[in-house]
């Protein structure tokens, strides 16, 4: 039984959607790539002008269409290209993720991280860590759409 479980976990390839702000985190991801740092290929990056651009609907639709985890990356608080965008994002995501948790969606499936353009290593580490968490949680069954399963 134990063996079965682990093998199933190792087989599970999660789909992770990362919303990255154009100015810091996307550049951070770029740096991670340039430095040949490893992070899971299952992370699909979506570039946004600012972490504050994330509409809660984006996150939910990502889950609907098969994402197992959603992570939002932006500039460190205080470093926003638009001065204050990430502060608003922070408040919004606090409320939204708390609400998702309240509905019984595992907390580990959502995350917000601040990654600067110079933090390629942090980007890779964050993604590795997040992917690991999501793999432990297994496939997203609670917020997925039955119609989207193959």
């Amino acid at each position: 039984m134990q063996i079965n479980e682990t093998s199933e976990i190792s087989k599970f390839k999660p789909v992770i959607v990362a919303f990255c702000c154009n100015w810091c985190s996307y550049a951070g991801a770029d740096l991670a790539g340039n430095n040949r740092l490893n992070y899971p290929a299952d992370v699909k990056i979506i570039r946004l002008p600012c972490s504050c651009r994330v509409n809660p609907m984006f996150i939910l639709r990502a889950f609907q269409k098969g994402a197992d985890g959603v992570i939002i990356c932006g500039c460190h608080p205080g470093d926003c290209h638009y001065t204050t965008g990430n502060y608003y994002a922070r408040r919004r995501m606090t409320i939204l993720f708390s609400m998702l948790d309240y509905l019984g969606i595992d907390r580990g499936r959502t995350r917000v991280e601040w990654v600067s353009a110079a933090e390629g290593a942090k980007f890779a580490a964050t993604m590795n860590d997040f992917a690991e968490t999501v793999i432990k949680l297994g496939p997203n069954k609670r917020l997925g759409d039955l119609r989207c399963r193959k």
Binding site: L60, R61, F63, R91, T94, I95, M99, Y102, G104, D145
Partner: protein
């Protein structure tokens, strides 16, 4: 009370102070009351009613009514004034076109709760202190008023009018409630239990949009769920996901603006406890960004359009609470 209100409305109309009065109109039974606009004393005499079933929050109608020609008077219960204030703050109501008459409220009754014990064929309900005498075609029964109040009235947050031009009856005080009890109870459950709870409730949703359309915080000209151009619209309960999403997004969109007026739960044909979603938002805001009651003060800064540099990190929530 009803007679005083009717009198006052009719004087206001006669004096020309207002052109219309927004109030409640009696129906066929004692409880099927319709919000209505009265323009003359005859109409008022004919149908104006104020009783324990006038639950409708009239403030949302003012978004449209205050943009019409002339001035409108409106009767607002204490909790309705919070919604009104919030709408003023959002520039949805033109304040100088509205004459607010605050009215005392002793809690509104829920006909479905009265009927829950198998009472059928209600022909009349008369109240005496804490007891209703319910006449039905099968005989008459008594029910305790405190047991059949609307959920929001059982946890009445305030008997104080936060805004009014004149007052009929007495102004009360902000109440101490345990309205977050159920939210806390849910928070303490495991994620699995919470998921089961909400699936049980939300799976009954028929996507009639009554909660949205009655909500004084939902005043968008075009709701995202109706707007095909948004790319994320969806009006069908095509999958369990769509039900979940509709309610999550709605709760999120009204976070920081919801006054907890409880209309969503009142109108839900499937009795889904939607207030529990909104109260979670209110509770979180109180907890993370400081105590805030939407609509209390129309000058206060709304928590979702503000920030501090020391705000809580969403990440820290992952290690908080049960589970």
């Amino acid at each position: 009370m009803q007679e005083i209100m009717k009198q006052r409305a009719s004087v206001l109309l006669q004096e020309g102070k207002v052109d219309r009065v927004l109030g409640w109109q009696a129906g066929v039974f004692v409880y099927d009351i319709t919000p209505s606009v009265f323009t003359n004393a005859e109409d008022l005499d004919h149908g104006f009613v104020y009783n324990d079933f006038c639950g409708n929050n009239l403030s949302k109608y003012l978004v449209k009514e205050s943009r019409k020609e002339g001035k409108v008077a409106v009767f607002l219960k204490p909790c309705d004034t919070y919604s009104f204030n919030q709408l003023i703050k959002e520039n949805r109501i033109l304040r100088d076109k509205v004459y607010v008459i605050g009215i005392e409220c002793g809690g509104k009754a829920d006909i479905e709760k009265i009927k829950a014990d198998g009472i059928r064929g209600v022909t009349g309900i008369t109240g005496e202190d804490d007891t209703y005498i319910v006449d039905t075609i099968y005989g008459s029964t008594q029910v305790s008023k405190s047991r059949v109040l609307l959920e929001r009235c059982m946890n009445c947050k305030s008997k104080k009018h936060v805004v009014y031009d004149e007052l009929i009856g007495d102004d009360g005080e902000v109440q101490v409630t345990d309205r977050f009890d159920m939210v806390e109870k849910l928070e303490k459950m495991s994620a699995d239990e919470r998921f089961e709870f909400w699936r049980g409730e939300l799976s009954r949703c028929i996507r009639c949009n009554a909660c949205r359309n009655v909500c004084p915080a939902c005043t968008c000209e075009k709701c995202v769920f109706d707007n095909d151009d948004s790319g994320v619209a969806g009006k069908a309960s095509a999958d369990t996901f769509e039900e979940n999403m509709y309610h999550i997004i709605r709760a999120f969109h009204v976070a920081g603006r919801c006054t907890d007026c409880g209309e969503c739960s009142r109108v839900c044909p499937q009795n889904i406890p939607l207030h529990l979603l909104n109260r979670k938002g209110i509770k979180d805001i109180n907890e993370y960004f400081g105590a805030f009651q939407a609509g209390e003060d129309c000058e206060a800064i709304s928590p979702m359009t503000a920030f501090t540099k020391e705000d809580v990190e969403p990440g820290t929530l992952h290690t908080k609470g049960g589970n």
